[in-house]
Structure formats: C-alpha cells, structure tokens
C-alpha cells in the first residue's frame, strides 16, 4: 500500500545498515551479530516475541542504547556509508538525522504544543519561523487541524494518540533521514492506532522508517520489509530472516518464522 503504490523514483537502496552488530547490558548479550540493511523510503518492521532484542537493536541505530548505565555495542552501524560508532562521531549529530518515536507518547510536559513541535531547533527561531516549522511538521504528522487553535496549550491536554502524533511531528521537524519507531501504537486504542498506521505510510514517502512491533497484523499492514528476530537459549536476540513483508508472511524460508507467524509460539 505504500512503496508498491508509488512509482519507484529511485531504485531500492540502502540508507542504514548494521554489520555484525551486537549489543550488551553489562555481560548480558541482548542482540547478537545482526547484519541487516534498511531500504530507503520504505518501512521495515522488526517483529518477534517479547525479549527478542528488537527494541535494543532499534536503540542501537541512533546511539540511544548507550545511555543505559552498563550498555555497550560491538560491530558497526553504517549510515550513509559511515560507521556511527566510529571514534569521534558525535552522537548528537547522528540523533538529529536519525529521529526516534517512543513506545509511550513522551511530549515535554512543560513546553507548549508549539514549542514541543519545534523543540529540536526552536532556540534559534523567531516566532514566525517557529510557526512555519511547526505547521509543516504538524501537517506531516496529520495533527495540524486538531491543534492549530491551541498551539500555546499544554500537550498534556491532548489525547494519547494526539500526543504520539505530536512526538512524531517533533521528530519530523528535525528533518531527519531516518525515523525509528519503537512500538509507536502499543499504548493507543484501535482508532488512534489506525491513524498512526496511515501516517506511517505517508511518512514513508519522505523518510526511511524502521518500526518495532509485536503486532503481526500491523507489520503485515504497514511494512514493506519485515525482519524476524528470536532470542536463543542464552536470551541473545538473533536475526532469523529478512524479506519483503508479503513474502515473509506467506512463504517464510525459515521454519521458526513460520511457527511464529502462524501463532505456534510468542
């Protein structure tokens, strides 16, 4: 419904890829030796049962993982063919180009809706420029019509789904190349979920999306590519299979993928 519906302007190409990436919390290896390429302007869904390391993998992609006290990473994450973990790379610069939307809506509680939308760069903008940036981002997040008359209000007055779209607008306003989404609808009701899913499809025209979901119907509905992960005996998350979503859900090549998507476990 997304990339397949729009004519391919550029051939599928890779914008972000991991190379033998492993992630640790202390001595526990949460993600093991994952190599995966994310296609430009497509939605890649990371699926798998709880504890399979999909969220940790996602958090390695914008260097948020390393904020945890005892976290570390080995291997490479290639963004525009440069390793974001290379010594001397500024994580702040990386995070500006690889945005993130979290599992629970996390608007900044003390900033207005407007200031939330422009939080990534609001410091240098005058009021007029702020409004322009905010309108563009809020329109991109399909929220403008609902909030245009209350931009100075608190984001906490919005519904959960609106808050999540505000967080998407906040990430979009930074004009990233990649948007990482960690179960963006996990805390939302079905109607708000449908709105976000539609939004993801439209965002994929502009951004490369990587979304974690444990909802297989959602992965099947919105993603172009799906990656299945599974934890091994030592609770280390392994990448089992990556393929076009249609293929992965109809003709998986790995037995474990088939077991999972047919609901035999997880």
């Amino acid at each position: 419904m997304t990339a397949s519906a729009t004519p391919a302007i550029a051939p599928p190409e890779t914008v972000l890829a991991t190379d033998d990436l492993s992630a640790y919390y202390g001595t526990h290896q949460a993600v093991g030796n994952v190599s995966i390429a994310f296609r430009r302007q497509a939605i890649t869904a990371l699926i798998g049962p709880s504890g399979c390391g999909k969220t940790t993998l996602l958090r390695c992609l914008n260097r948020i993982h390393e904020l945890a006290f005892d976290a570390c990473v080995s291997g490479r994450v290639l963004f525009d063919n440069a390793d974001i973990y290379e010594w001397g790379t500024d994580p702040m610069a990386i995070r500006r180009r690889i945005g993130m939307v979290f599992q629970r809506p996390n608007p900044f509680p003390t900033l207005s809706i407007l200031d939330n939308a422009v939080a990534a760069g609001g410091r240098r903008l005058n009021r007029r420029a702020k409004l322009e940036v905010a309108e563009r981002a809020l329109r991109a997040a399909a929220l403008w019509d609902e909030v245009k008359d209350k931009l100075s209000r608190s984001p906490l007055q919005l519904s959960g789904g609106q808050q999540q779209r505000l967080c998407i607008a906040r990430a979009v306003a930074a004009e990233p190349d990649v948007l990482l989404m960690d179960e963006p609808t996990a805390s939302l009701d079905p109607i708000a979920t449908a709105v976000i899913e539609e939004l993801m499809a439209s965002l994929a025209n502009q951004f490369t999306l990587v979304a974690v979901t444990h909802n297989m119907q959602q992965a099947a509905r919105v993603s172009d590519v799906a990656a299945f992960m599974l934890a091994d005996e030592s609770r280390t998350g392994r990448l089992i299979e990556v393929d076009d979503t249609a293929k992965l859900f109809t003709k998986p090549s790995d037995r474990r993928t088939e077991d999972y998507i047919t609901g035999r476990f997880g």
Binding site: R95, R96, P109, A120, C167
Partner: protein, 285 residues
Amino acid sequence: MIGTARLRRRRVSASAGAALTLLCALLAAGALLVILGYVVVQGIGAVNWAFLTQLPRPVGMTGGGVGNGILGTIIIIAIAAAMAIPLGLLTGIYLALFGRGTIPEALRFLSDVLSGVPSIAIGLFAYTVLVAPLKHFSAFSASFAFMMLMLPLLVRTSEQAIRSVPQTVREGALALGMSNFRATMRVVLPTARPAIITALLLAIARVTGETAPLLFTAFGSQFWETNPGRPMAVLALQVFNYAISPYANWQAQAWGGALLLIVAVLILSLGARYMLSQASRRLES
C-alpha cells in the same frame, strides 16, 4: 473452617489494634494542636500593626515591635537562599545525572552527615570562619550558617526531583539531538520545577525558626539594620531574648513573635504542599 470463637477473638484483636493506632494518632495530632492553640492564645494579644512595623523599645516603655527582626529574618534568609539554591541545585543535578561511583556516593554521605550536624555546631563553625577573624558579628555569617543548614536538604531533594522525571522524557530530548546539558535545562529541570520549589520552601521553613546559630552570628540589633556586614535583628533571636527576660511586657512580645514564626512556617508548608500537588500532576502524564 475456622471456629466462631477464634473468629471472634480475631475480630476483637483487630479492632483493638485499630483503636490503639487511632489513639496514638490523636495523641500526636492533639499535642500539636495544643501547642498551636496555646501559642495563638498567648501571642495573639501582642500582635498588632505596631508590633509588626516598629522598633523594639527599651525596658520600662510599653509598645514597640519586632519590625526590624522581621526585616532581618527576610534579609538573612534571602542571602542564604541565594547562595544555597545554585550550589544545592547544581550538586543535585550532578548527582542525578552522574550519580554512580565513589565521588557521588561520598557527596551523598557528606550531605547526609551535614543534615545531621546540630545547628549550634554549624553556628560555631560560621563564628569561627566569619565572625572571629573579622572581629565583629554580621548578618552575613548568619546567612552562611543558614546556607549550610539548607544545603543538604536542597541537594538530596533536587536530586530526587530530577530522578523522578521519567527517563522517557529525558530520552525524548536526547533523541532529538539535544546535548545532555540542554536536555536537562530545557526539559528535565522545568518538569522537576514544582518539586524543587517544594524543597526550597521546606528548606526555608527549616531555617526560619532556627535560633541557635544566630546567637553568635547575627547577634541582634536594636535598629533598622540592612547592611549584612553588621549585626542584625532576627525574629527568632528576639523571641529568645524576650522569653528569658524577667519583664511581663517582653514575655508577651516573645509569644507574639513565636506566633509570627509559626504562621510563617505554616504558610511555607502550605505552599510546599500546593507545589507538591502540582509536581505529581505533572509527572502523572
């Protein structure tokens, strides 16, 4: 099955326990109410406009007030807060953000020790470093002592306030490419602000009634003193001096001063409660 006799015994012991705890709660609250009531009854007669605005009068003359003591209390606490807030807040930020390892643990321990040091010892310390070398008492030395009393409370509570801001809010800011410092200043601190203001109000309430460290720092004054480099009148000190005097007129004024102090602490505590309710509302989201 449990026999009816045993069941009844359990019911009796349960209600006896409930009654005992209620009795203790009433005793504790009752004692507080008696103290409050007694101070109001004794002090209300002394409180009037002149009492709040005039200078003390010498023995033998009636009337006069504690206006200079009220002003001095405000000046000394304001200077103490101006020193304690940045120091305490920044230390709290440091502990909340980089709180692991030997140095932060040592800081926490020292802060806890400092909060347990008797206020008279802190007053003696202020005397040793700020009064004795300069050879005269000063309001600033009292502010210094008050700062030492407020500091541990501010450090620990601001650390707690910053820690209580959900990690997801902080991560949201960092994920936008904000620096750690900017994320703290723009997002985390404002979210924690009501809790930090609560801590500040409680710290002020804590020192408002302190008398011991003032004895050999601020010392007291009979005049409208506003220069923090000189001895200054302080309300708590005036209460102390009047209360131990043999003159009925002064003793009445001591009760009036005590009433003022209690009212001030009450207002600060109510303010703190209000800010705390704001804080929990903000964090519920």
